[in-house]
Symmetry: D2
Amino acid sequence: MQDDDVDARELDRMLQRAFDASTKIYQQRGFQRRIGFGKKPALVSVDLANAWTRPGNPFTCDQRAMDGEIIPGMQRLLKACRAHGHPVIHVTTAYEITDPNAPFTDMGLWQCKIPIEVVDLQRKELWAIDSRIAPVKGEYTLLKKRASAFHGTGLGGLLRAAGVDTILVTGVTATACVRTTICDGLADGFRTIAVKECIGDRVPGAVAWNLYDIDAKFADVESVDTCVKYLEGAGATAQAAE
Amino acid sequence: MQDDDVDARELDRMLQRAFDASTKIYQQRGFQRRIGFGKKPALVSVDLANAWTRPGNPFTCDQRAMDGEIIPGMQRLLKACRAHGHPVIHVTTAYEITDPNAPFTDMGLWQCKIPIEVVDLQRKELWAIDSRIAPVKGEYTLLKKRASAFHGTGLGGLLRAAGVDTILVTGVTATACVRTTICDGLADGFRTIAVKECIGDRVPGAVAWNLYDIDAKFADVESVDTCVKYLEGAGATAQAAE
Amino acid sequence: MQDDDVDARELDRMLQRAFDASTKIYQQRGFQRRIGFGKKPALVSVDLANAWTRPGNPFTCDQRAMDGEIIPGMQRLLKACRAHGHPVIHVTTAYEITDPNAPFTDMGLWQCKIPIEVVDLQRKELWAIDSRIAPVKGEYTLLKKRASAFHGTGLGGLLRAAGVDTILVTGVTATACVRTTICDGLADGFRTIAVKECIGDRVPGAVAWNLYDIDAKFADVESVDTCVKYLEGAGATAQAAE
Amino acid sequence: MQDDDVDARELDRMLQRAFDASTKIYQQRGFQRRIGFGKKPALVSVDLANAWTRPGNPFTCDQRAMDGEIIPGMQRLLKACRAHGHPVIHVTTAYEITDPNAPFTDMGLWQCKIPIEVVDLQRKELWAIDSRIAPVKGEYTLLKKRASAFHGTGLGGLLRAAGVDTILVTGVTATACVRTTICDGLADGFRTIAVKECIGDRVPGAVAWNLYDIDAKFADVESVDTCVKYLEGAGATAQAAE
C-alpha cells in the first residue's frame, strides 16, 4: 500500500473478519453463487494505460501491485488469448474537450468528481495502453468516456456479434472502472469473471472490499492460473466445435 | 449490524482509518470533488419494497437501519418532494419467468449470482413498495430487472424529458442497486446525490465502504437534513423561474 | 389500404420503380447484403396488442392485413417456436402517467408527436396481447415505453443471457416500433430478420418503403414460409448440438 | 436524382399523393403533433464526412443536394451556433478492424448488410468531416460505429450534462444514420428537429419518405430558415437567462 498511516496487514485482517461475517449471511440467503465460465470468452482489460500504470499521474495506481502482479498476470492472459484466438479488448479513457469552462465537454459531469481533465486526447502518451501489454493486430482498443467499458460504447454489441458469452475483466481501478464494467457486463448478459491478481487501485482496502462485493453479487473472482487454464481449454473447445 | 461475530464499532474505527489514509491520497490527486445540487431535482428511491424492507426474505436488509433511519428519512424526503412538485420515482424489482430451468428468463444471468428467483412478479406483496412510503398519484413506479435503475429502463429518457438535472438516490442495497444506479446516473449526465441516512444494506461494513467509494468518485453523499432543505429551496426556485 | 384517395396498385407500381432504381445503386455499391439466419433464434413480436390489432383505436392498423396475413402468419411462427422451444417475446406499450399536464410522465416526450396517452396502463384491454396469439407459459411479455423494443428495456441482455444470436421481428408498425426494433437489434449484435407478411402499418405505402429500407441496410426481409422452415430446422440443430 | 430510370418529378407526385392520404389518417387519429423547440439547443450533424459528402466512395450521397443545399445549409447553421455558443457535435463513422474475416470486429454485424469495411480508421481522409464545414475549437467530433449517433456512444449523457434539451439533426443518410439518430434522440428525452434541406441520401425517394415518417412520429421537420432564426433567438434567451 502507498500509505503508512494505515497498517495494511491489520486492515486486511479486520476486513477479512467483516467479510467472514458477511459471508455467513450471504450463504444463508443464497448469495455468492458461481456463474461459471461459458463457451466463448473475451478478455476486457480496463484502463491499463500509462496514466494509470506508470508513476507521476493523478491516476497512477499502486505501483507494487502494477509491476509485480497486474502486468505479469496480463502478459500470461494475453499469451493464452493470442495462442487460442480469443478476442482482446484494451479499454482506455481520454477526452477531446478538457477545458472545464468550455460550453460543453465530452467529460460530461465526471470532472465534477475526479480529475479526468488530465487525460487529454491530444496527449496520447497518457492514454496509450502500457507498452508491456501493447495491443497487437486483431485486438481492439476501445476509447471510453465513462467509468464502465459498456456505458456509452459499442462493447456489448461487438461482443454479441462475435458470439462471446464470457468476459474476463482486468485492470484499474477496482473502485470505479473495473467494478462498473463488471456490473454492466453481467446486466448485458455476459458471464463475468474478475481476474483476481490483475485488478488494482490506488488507495488502501479498495481492492479487497470491491472484489468482495463483486464476488458476492456480480462476477466470480478467479485467479490468473484458473483463467489461463480456462482460456487454453476454451480455445480447444472452440476449435473442435467448428 | 445483524451479526455478532464482527464488532461493529471496531470495524467502523478500522474502516475510518482506511478512509482517512485514502482521503489523503484522493485530496492530493484532485478526487473527492463536489458535484453540487442542480436546478431541477428528482427523488429516485431504489428497492424499498417489502422483500427488502420487511423481515423474512433473503433480500431483507438491516432492520434497525430500515425502521430507524431509512423509512423515516424517506418520509421526510417524500413530504418535501410532494410539497414542491418534484418528481418521485419508486424503483422495484421482479421477474416474470423465475424458473431457473426455463429456456430463457427475464432474470438474465443475475440468478447465477443471487437469489432473484424469489421475487416473482405474481407475488406482488414482495415487490410492492413499502406501505410506509407508498407512492401517491403522479409518482412513478419503475419495475427494473437489473441492479441499476437506469440499465435496461427508460429512466434516463424520462428524467431528461422532464428537465431533471439532479437525482437524489436512496434505498437498498448500497453494494448493488444503489451504487450502480448512482454510477449510471452520473454517466448519463445527472448531478447525483446519495442521501446518507436513507441508504442501507444487509451485511456489516458494506454501507460504509460503498458510500466512501461513491463520495470519492460518483456522487456527493449528503444528509437528509441538507437534502430536505435543498428540495424546499429548489421548489421555490423552480416556481419563481416559471 | 384504408383510404380510397390513393390507388394502392398504382402506388405500389410507382414505388416498385423507385425501388428498382435504388436497387441498381445499392447493388453497384455493395449494399443489400444478406445477414442470414444464425444458430439460436428468438421471435420478437412488437405491439400485436388490442389497441393495434383490433378496430376502434387511434393505433388500429390496417385490418385486412392484420386479420388476413399478420395474425395467421404469427400463429404459424408461434407454433414452430413452441414445438422447438425457441424463446418468444411479446412486446407491448403502455403508460402509468398519461395526463399530459402531469409534472412528469413515463411517456417522456413521445406524446408530443403521437397519441400515446391513449394506452393507459390501467386499461389492460388495450395493451394486452391479441388473444388469437396470446402468450403461453414460458413466453415473456415485455412492456416498453418507446418505439424500439430494445431502447430502455432489458431485451438485449435477456437475449444474450439465453444465447440467442438471431431475432425474427414481426408486428406493427413498420414505420415506428418494428423499424426501430430492427435497427437496434442489429446494432446490439443480433442477426435480424424481418418477417415479411407479419409486419403491418396503418397508412398507404409505409410497409413497402420501410421494408425496402430495412432490407437494404438493417435486416433480411424473409417470408413466413422461409422463417417457419428455419425455426423447425434450427430446433433440430439446437437439439443435435446439445 | 442520380438515376434516369425513375422520373423524379413523377415519383415525387405519386409519393405526395400517398403522403396526403396518410396525413388524413394521421390527422384524424392525433398523430403528426408538433414537439416544438426547447430552450437549449445543440446541432448534431451526422456523417457529413468525406466518404459521404465527396464523390467516388460507395457511401457517396446525391452530389447535387450535397453541394447545393446540405453544405450551404450547414454553413448557415454552424454560423448561428458559433455566434451564439450552441454546442455542435460532428458525428462520423470508422472502424479499427475492417477485415471481415477477423475473429471479431468493431463493425459488429453491420458489414453483413452494408460495405462499412470501406471506412477504415487508418484512412482519415475518408472519415474526416468535410472541410467546408470543418469543426472548430470547442466543437466535438464523435466517432460512432452504428447507424444512430446515440447507440453505443456517450452522446445522450454529454448533452444532458450540458443542459441541452433540443437537438437539430442534419446529415446523411435519411434512411439510416439520420433517422435512427432522430428516433433515439426523442426516446432519450430530447426535442428533436430534422433540418429539412440539410438531410440527404443516395437513392431516389428515400429522403421524401423518411422525412415524412419522421415528421409524423419522431421529430418536427423544419427549414434551415426557421432553425437559424431559432438558434439566434435561443442564443438571446440563453444569455438573458444567465
